[in-house]
């Protein structure tokens, strides 16, 4: 009989499938994972500490660098927290620009996930398609904000730049194009039997586990919990749009795959309606003081980022810098369940399970 020995294996910190610098120490017996220990912090920049010495507007660029695949939602959560405390009314046009930016960002983020997830499990060409479409979104956001990834676009009270001439039309034209491509994606991948067999039943957990481990976003909705903060605790102007919250009760990687693609569709619906309702003119920044000071007290707000529930806690002593700033970073919370999922799994499923969670290390490490 063949004798096997337990062995320690380091995955990462530099590993293409970790999408950043993430290390996983696994103990394997043959091909079976006995234990997995995630090691994080390689990208910790102390955003919260830095923020304590920065004015609110100066913190916004730092939020871009948390979840750098969806910087618009990070911009928004900070502004939203300050605005909630100040009771600021946001001008219509600014709200629409914000929603458009966030939803475009969500599509781009899911595209990156789709491409890289498939790349991780061995399908190379989807990655190229996904990045082609993502590039179009990035170009649009670049025209809007002047940056491709780290937008620094939103401000307390509105947004920094108005939409340039012809931008809205570009966004409008993008929606049908993206729908067509999405169909192609499904044709290319979603019906592929090899792919389905590869992800079905992999990384499965129950609804109870999901809630217990504080999972959010697609990771939670893939267990049948219909919960989307855009719908259930509406912020900004999301209550004006018709869209569904896709849910699946499979609880596995296959469910999460389907949900993310379905969410692209829903985001396109929102973008379509926002373009339609887009006010012809108007202010893009509310009348806020030059130096923003949140009133004394504390507030915690949460919104729906592509990765789940992103939150921002501010404790203010009435000064122009926050006394304490804390981000509830969805990837950080979502990653906690990984050791549980990996235990007893075949090593070949490691990357599929990790990939399906959809983490961004900038966000995990803060």
């Amino acid at each position: 009989m063949l004798r096997t020995e337990e062995m320690l294996l380091n995955v990462g910190p530099q590993h293409p499938s970790t999408h950043g610098v993430f290390r996983l120490v696994i103990k394997i017996d043959g091909e079976i994972i006995k234990e997995a220990k995630p090691v994080i912090g390689y990208l910790h920049r102390g955003t919260e500490k830095l923020a304590e010495n920065l004015q609110y507007t100066q913190i916004i660029p730092y939020t871009d660098r948390l979840d750098y695949l969806s910087a618009m939602t990070n911009n928004y959560v900070l502004c939203h927290a300050v605005e909630t405390m100040m009771g600021t009314q946001i001008p219509e046009r600014a709200e629409y620009l914000r929603v458009l930016a966030m939803e475009l960002g969500r599509v781009a983020s899911h595209l990156v996930w789709w491409g890289t997830f498939l790349l991780d499990i061995g399908a190379v060409s989807p990655f190229l398609y996904a990045f082609r479409e993502r590039e179009m979104i990035i170009n649009m956001l670049n025209e809007l904000s002047g940056a491709r990834l780290t937008f620094n676009y939103m401000r307390v009270g509105g947004v920094k730049w108005d939409a340039p001439e012809g931008w809205i039309e570009k966004v409008r034209d993008f929606v049908p194009y993206m729908r067509e491509q999405l169909e192609g994606y499904h044709y290319l991948v979603s019906g592929n039997e090899i792919f389905i067999n590869r992800v079905k039943g992999v990384g499965r957990y129950t609804k109870e586990d999901a809630l217990n481990y504080s999972l959010s976003g697609v990771n939670l909705r893939s267990t049948g919990v219909k919960w989307d903060l855009r719908k259930d605790e509406p912020y900004s102007i999301y209550n004006r749009f018709n869209f569904d919250v896709p849910v699946h009760d499979g609880g596995d990687a296959w469910a999460r795959y389907q949900l993310r693609l379905a969410e692209i569709e829903e985001s396109l619906k929102i973008i379509e309606q926002a373009v339609e309702q887009f006010p012809a003119e108007g202010e893009i920044l509310a009348k806020v003081p030059k130096i923003i000071k949140a009133p004394k007290g504390e507030a915690f707000v949460r919104i729906e980022s592509p990765r789940g529930e992103i939150g921002c806690y501010i404790a203010s002593d009435g000064k122009k810098e926050p006394y304490r700033l804390k981000f509830r970073r969805p990837s950080f919370y979502n990653l906690q369940i990984l050791p549980k999922l990996l235990k007893g799994e075949n090593i070949a499923n490691l990357i599929a399970i990790l990939g399906a969670i959809d983490i961004v290390l900038g966000e995990v490490d803060g």
Partner: protein, 410 residues
């Protein structure tokens, strides 16, 4: 205290209306409006006189039942020769009459308009507003009187100077809006109104109402600068406006939830569990519980497993160094009831330690590690408390306010 304020308000309202009436009468007689102050002693009869006209067209239409009642009261008061405190007596009588009160409130706006209209025709009509307003609480009375006065003055000015009519009209309109809002907020306490009167800016953040009020006040002030006469109107506007910030005192929509949580907790765990509880207005009205350190874990367990509470989801956990103490902030959510609660616990800053929530919600695992790493809070009962972000050789806890960097080169 509040009764005193009521009296004060009543008196002021009465005086104002009287002054306005007199000014109008003089305007009618001389073609010019006189300053309001010198009219005070002369106007007692004025208050009563209009009551006779109450059966007239415009006003009757506008104020209907409330008006009739006020007229009757005013008449009676005149008969008894006790017109001196004209505000007091009717108020006492009418105070019981809910119907009249409601009607008066509903008709107040229309009344003001009708009155202004009438004021153009006959100068003596202003005071009845006050008589009608008597049925109500002092605040509503004050608002109605001030509004009527503002409208009447504006109209009067329109008569006098056609040029500035438009601007004044706007002014009056803005004021009327502010007054209407004030009326909507009339349910709030007289105390709040008095406070607001002393200094509107001290009142808690007011949102729309305050904004509208500010606009109204600003407009009133601009008008005052333009014309010496308009100063009176401006004052009226400024005075009616502070009634508006009573709105923030309205109970939060989440108040019932907070009450429920506290009730369930006290029924099951006794009264000594919570240190404090309140609605955090700054944080989307989240019900906030401040729990005592010793009962933190017990309460957390209870919040999760109690059938009526069922907070099955830990959304956020972090610590804050408040220099006087450390604090752990936990945001919980119940997917069953779709409700949030914020749980806070104060702990000693020098030796910060608290029970771990990891056994209750597995999701508290890493956040507690983070709080330990960055703030040095010891979570007892945590299965694997370690420096999750900085690494085990790091010296100090950076988010503590007294943190000093061990290696400045880093």
């Amino acid at each position: 205290m509040s009764e005193k304020d009521l009296d004060q308000l009543k008196k002021e309202a009465a005086e104002k209306a009287k002054a306005a009436a007199l000014a109008k009468r003089q305007a009618k007689l001389t073609g010019e409006s006189a300053p309001q102050q010198d009219s005070k002693p002369a106007d007692k009869p004025e208050v009563k006189a209009p009551a006779n006209d109450d059966d007239d067209l415009a006003k009757r239409k506008a104020a209907a039942a409330a008006k009739a009642k006020a007229a009757a009261l005013a008449k009676r008061a005149r008969e008894q020769g006790e017109a001196a405190p004209p505000v007091e007596a009717p108020a006492a009588d009418a105070g019981d009459d809910d119907l009249a009160k409601k009607k008066a409130a509903a008709a107040a706006k229309a009344k003001a308009a009708a009155l202004a209209k009438k004021a153009r025709e006959q100068g003596e009509e202003a005071p009845p507003v006050e008589a009608g307003g008597d049925d109500d609480l002092a605040k509503r009375k004050a608002a109605a009187a001030a509004k009527a006065k503002a409208a009447a003055l504006a109209k009067m000015k329109a008569q006098e100077a056609g040029g500035s009519a438009a601007a004044d009209g706007d002014d009056a309109k803005a004021k009327a809006v502010a007054a209407a809002k004030a009326k909507a907020a009339a349910a709030a306490k007289a105390k709040a109104a008095a406070l607001a009167k002393q200094g509107g800016s001290d009142a808690p953040a007011g949102g729309d109402d305050e904004k509208a009020k500010a606009i109204a006040a600003a407009k009133a002030k601009a008008a005052a600068a333009a014309k010496a006469k308009a100063a009176a109107a401006g004052k009226a506007g400024a005075e009616e406006a502070p009634a508006a910030p009573a709105a923030p005192a309205a109970p939060s929509p989440n108040q019932p939830y907070l009450d429920k949580y506290v009730k369930v907790i006290e029924e099951n765990l006794g009264p000594d569990v919570l240190e404090d509880y309140y609605i955090n207005k700054l944080s989307k009205d989240v019900p906030t519980l401040v729990v005592k350190r010793d009962t933190y874990f017990k309460l957390a367990q209870f919040l999760k497993y109690n059938e009526r509470l069922g907070f099955d989801y830990l959304s956020e956990l972090h610590g804050t160094d408040f220099e006087t103490h450390m604090e752990v902030y936990v945001h919980l959510f119940s997917y069953k009831n779709r409700q949030s609660v914020a749980l806070k616990v104060k702990i000693d800053r020098e030796k910060p330690s608290i029970d771990s929530l990891q056994p209750v919600w597995a999701g508290a695992n890493w956040p507690e590690c983070e709080a330990y790493d960055l703030l040095g809070i010891q979570f007892t009962g945590h299965p694997n408390l370690h420096r999750i972000l900085l690494g085990e050789d790091w010296v100090g806890h950076p988010l503590r306010k007294d943190y000093e960097q061990y290696d400045v080169e880093v």
